[in-house]
Symmetry: C2
Subunit: 97 residues, 2 copies
C-alpha cells in the first residue's frame, strides 16, 4: 500500500470562490480508478506555510502510475494545478517494517 | 478528528543501527493515551528530501495537547528528537468541509 499526498498553498485568497472551485475540481479526481481513501484536507498547523492537503492510497505502484497518467489527472495538472498552486510538497509513504 | 504527522530526515546513515533505535523509540510513543491510528512510515518519493514519517490521529484538540505535553513525548523530543533529527516538517490536517 502506498499513501500518496500533496500539501499545498494556492495563489487564491483564503475563502475565495476561486479557492472553492479549485478544491471542487481536485475532489473530482477521486473518481479515477484505483484510488482508495481519497481525502481533501485543510492544513491547520501554524508550523508550516501550507493551507491544504490531498491524500489517497494505492494498492500498488502500477495503480499509482495509472492514476498519474490518467487523462483526468494530466488535464487537472496542466489546466489548474500548474496555474493556481503557489507552492507544494509531494509525499509518498509506505509502511516502515 | 485531527491527523497530526511529521515528515523527517535523521542525521544517521540510512540502514544504521542508530536509525533503527530511533524509530523504535518513536514507535513507543504510540502507547500514549488518546492516540489513534499511529503509524511509523517510510517516505519513498524522490520529490522531497525526507526519509520517514510518523502519523497519528486525535479525536479533538484536548487529546492532541495532552499528547504534546505528556512526559513520554516531552522526554522523547528532548532526549532524541532534537539531537538526532536533521530536518522535519509538522503537518496537521482536519477534514475540508
Amino acid at each position: 500500500m502506498i499513501r500518496h499526498s500533496v500539501i499545498f498553498k494556492l495563489k487564491h485568497h483564503k475563502g475565495s470562490q476561486e479557492e472553492a472551485l479549485f478544491l471542487e475540481k481536485a475532489n473530482a479526481l477521486s473518481s479515477i480508478p484505483g484510488i482508495q481513501n481519497f481525502e481533501c484536507l485543510k492544513q491547520v498547523s501554524p508550523k508550516n506555510k501550507f493551507d491544504f492537503g490531498i491524500s489517497m492510497a494505492f494498492e500498488n505502484e502500477t495503480l499509482y502510475q495509472q492514476y498519474n497518467n490518467h487523462p483526468d489527472h494530466v488535464y487537472f495538472v496542466q489546466q489548474y494545478w500548474l496555474k493556481e498552486v503557489e507552492d507544494f510538497l509531494e509525499i509518498d509513504y509506505v509502511p516502515y517494517t
